[in-house]
Amino acid sequence: MIKKVVLALACFSFLLTSCTKQRYEFDNVNGVYADGEFLLPLVKASYSFDSLVDRLQLDTMMTFDESGGIHYMLNYDLDKVVDGKKILFFKDIDADTHFSVPNPYPAVLPEPVDTTLIFTQTVTLSSDFISVLMAEICSGSFDFEISSNIPELSRIIIRSSEIKDANGADMCLVYNPSSGHAGLDLAGFLYETETENTVNINYEVSFTAYDFTAPELNFDVMLHVTDLHVSRMRGRIMNYSLRHVFDTVFDLFPKKVEGVASVCDMHVRLMERNDFGMDARLYIDTVLVSGDGVPSYTVFDPLTVPVLESHEFVEVLDKKVHGALNMVSDNVYASGLFVLNPEESLDIVNVNDTSAIDVKIAVDLPFAFNVQKVSYTDTLEVKTSDFDYPEIIQEIDVDLEFLTDLPFNLGVNVYMYDSQHQIITDTLTSNARIQGSFDGTKKASTIVAKVTEDRVNNVLNSDGIILSFTLNTDAHDVVLNLKQCVEFTSKAYVRYNGNVDFNKE
């Protein structure tokens, strides 16, 4: 009996140890404990140089040759450096002519006699640049002021056979003596003369002679020539010179790249179009370049460039130059003297006011340079804070491996960034180096970033990565090519240990 009781108690005790309701209260579970290590590939990329072109926003300014050579092009168009409108005009003048003739009628006449006298005024139009035999007048005016001691003036007719209207009729203006003034708008008139720049104007003065005892008849004419421009002329162009200054700032790279590079084999090309119908010449006396960190220097010595007559653009200069450039922006100052008809030819030419000398400047900057220090900074929006990371990560080791044949060394700094508070939250790498290739073979480099437990939270709760590169060519003159590339892979070792709470807010 006792044995049976003991056996029953033993069995019952087994049940007691098993039957624990609390053991199944799963609502009480509040987390997961884990302890382990993960090896993960992270990011890979293969950048050929043309992909960097997109990143640096250079595609509109670059050209590429067949072998993959890269050229950075700067183009400037200078329209109407020498403008025909600024040559084909006459200066404003006031031509004052006094006429005096003996009185043909000595005494009082028995009856009035209608008399017409003709006076001819020769006016020389004034211009520094043109001698005109024929011209189409596009603007300008003649204004007459006439005074006289002749009594009883009935009318004065002003004529010139050298100025004709659109219908071919001679200029004819009727002057009303009572008004004392007459004017004529010459727009649309044709001027043609046998003596360059001269106009003969006839004044037909009509009066009634009766009681005029003055011994002389006086007739004064004041001709105002105003704003006289021609749209087309036939004649001669005298030696015309004009100084032109080219002063501009050009941006080489977007603001992300800073520093100074020595540029090799830069080509400066000039193309000009001259449709004046005569040769011209350009004296380039000054070409200076300067920039932040780049002392001002002369790009090339003064030189003379012929600008022959041509209706199409013709290359007149192609010069190879060397120098240093600031990667952000540089100032170019150039000054030259354009001379039209430098030989002072007396040939008769036809010239329009649309004639001009146009200039195109092209700077071809091959990506061949020697760099001591150029820096580039970029920011990647990588909101690591958007992901929920368990707070048990104790260490993250990130390996960045590079394989490149780009011919420059890169110093790398990588920072984690909090844009909301505008602060750097962590420095992943500092002064790491990617070895460049100066012999055409691919070079491998590895950068290791270790993030220990106390920094993990900073790294994983950032919203940006700042990449800062410094570039140098180790005193080599290097040439960049589209086919050069950099391959990049990264991998991570993550160690974790601890509890992940389900109810973390």
């Binding site: 039957c19 053991r23 199944y24 382990g36 090896l39 990329a45 992901f387 991998k491």
Partner: protein
């Protein structure tokens, strides 16, 4: 002879220390329970007849060799689970972890004593499931992949699956061939209901030592059959016909036999050997094979594998800053792992065969000590098992049985069963792990069997 008896029992007991017990019910060891015939068709029953309808035998067996709730959690001072302990859980697993299940329902059964033996008939619906999973998946979740690098050391998530459901119509006969030898057997006509077996179901993940790239191989070949035609589309299982027809259950016939023999050396000692469920089913219709492989869905595909070497730099910003792009990116990754279904011709599967060796020492007519060695062949391997049992009949009314099973990492598997013999019927219930009934999530498994049977005693024997 006595020495031989003792040595035999001790030898079996010794073997038990190194074997894994499973799929055992105390009913098998009861003297008067008609359903002991299930494991030993040659067993002698003291009845003239027995009948059961629907409730004669309801049997469920769950075998969970490795997963223990206590290994999953850490507990606080009051005994409540507080934290999921992945490390402890992963360490508690074996390289291969099994989960088996058996459900057995007798629809109709009866037996009748004949001139020389005992004739039985039963109609049963049976379900058998064997599955295994390697521990690599849990090892990776708990410990990461740093310990599994190199071309010869992948994380190998391997799943084995073998499930079978069928109807059994069995005609049995038991006879005492000689005074010492009893033999018995059953001829079974089978109708398959459904089947699923994995020829291959694995994912291997290689981590490269140098660049940490992850290379995954998928291998899936799972064969399935169901009564009605079905399809799997968009990861959903759907029957093509909405109406079920009884004729759908008649497509897959089979045949099986149970054989047993028991030899009584003396009035005390006997040895029994049995082979149960040796047979096959021919699946003729609605067979489908699910074949899975890595498909070429983009730049992550590499020579039959999914190769992840990192995110492309131009995608990095989009993934981190654009939620929609992020979802599309991960959806695209999932599309590399696909499967397709194709019809299969008729094929044959074997039943999960059970081989028993049992030694019995009868102290007297009412008390017996038994030791049984069992080999369960599930199609995913052979699993040996051993049980010690003590059976006692009290007042001709109660037939009690206590069992003790030893399993890997678990030593508290005490089983108990009883049969209550009333005048015209038996009611019985048994489990091979009474403690497990109270902590089912922390036990390696248990068997529960119960039923209600009408019986007529053989007056000649009583």
């Amino acid at each position: 002879m006595k020495k031989f008896q003792i040595i035999s029992i001790l030898a079996l007991t010794f073997v038990s220390a190194i074997a894994n017990a499973q799929n055992i019910s105390p009913v098998d060891f009861m003297k008067t329970n008609p359903y002991k015939l299930r494991s030993n068709p040659s067993s002698d029953l003291p009845y003239d007849s027995h009948v059961s309808i629907g409730l004669g035998n309801i049997c469920g067996d769950i075998r969970n060799l490795n997963f223990r709730l206590d290994n999953v959690f850490r507990y606080d001072a009051s005994g409540r689970p507080s934290v999921i302990d992945l490390k402890n859980f992963a360490n508690s697993l074996d390289p291969e972890n099994g989960f088996n299940s058996i459900l057995d329902l007798e629809v109709l059964g009866f037996g009748k004593k004949s001139k020389h033996g005992y004739v039985t008939y039963s109609h049963r619906v049976r379900f058998q499931l064997s599955s295994t999973i390697s521990d690599d998946l849990f090892q990776m979740v708990a410990f990461g992949n740093a310990a599994s690098t190199g071309p010869d050391n992948p994380i190998d998530v391997n799943v084995g699956l073998n499930a079978l459901c069928f109807q059994e119509f069995a005609l049995g006969y038991q006879i005492k061939a000689t005074p010492h030898l009893s033999v018995g057997g059953r001829v079974k006509f089978l109708l398959g209901v459904g089947e699923a077996k994995s020829e291959a179901l694995s994912v291997k993940l290689f981590t490269d030592c140098e660049d940490y790239s992850l290379r995954a191989f998928e291998d899936m070949a799972v064969r399935m059959t169901s009564p009605m035609p079905f399809q799997i589309a968009n990861n959903k299982f759907e029957f093509e016909n909405s109406r079920f027809n009884v004729a759908d259950l008649l497509h897959s016939p089979g045949f099986g036999i149970d054989l047993a023999a028991e030899y009584h050396f003396s009035g005390h000692l006997s040895l029994m050997a049995a082979v149960n469920d040796f047979g096959f089913i021919r699946w003729k219709k609605n067979g489908v094979v699910l074949n899975g492989d890595i498909v070429d869905n983009g730049h992550f595909y590499d020579d039959g594998a999914f190769l992840f070497q990192g995110v492309e730099i131009y995608e990095l910003e989009s993934i981190f800053s654009d939620g929609e792009h992020q979802n599309q990116y991960f959806d695209n990754l999932k599309d590399y792992f696909t499967f397709e279904t194709e019809s299969t011709d008729a094929y044959t599967t074997m039943l999960h065969t059970n081989i028993l060796l049992r030694g019995t020492y009868a102290f007297n007519d009412k008390r017996r000590l038994m030791s049984q060695l069992q080999f369960y062949c599930s199609g995913l391997g052979v699993r040996p098992a051993l049980t010690l049992a003590y059976n006692a009949t009290l007042n001709k009314t109660f037939d009690l049985c206590a069992t003790y099973s030893m399993m890997k990492n678990s030593f508290d598997n005490l089983g108990f069963g009883f049969t209550c013999n009333l005048k015209f019927f038996h009611i019985y219930a048994a489990t091979n792990n009474i403690i497990g009934c109270f902590k089912p999530l922390n036990t390696s498994g248990m068997n529960i069997q119960a039923g209600f049977v009408f019986t007529v005693i053989d007056k000649n024997r009583h």
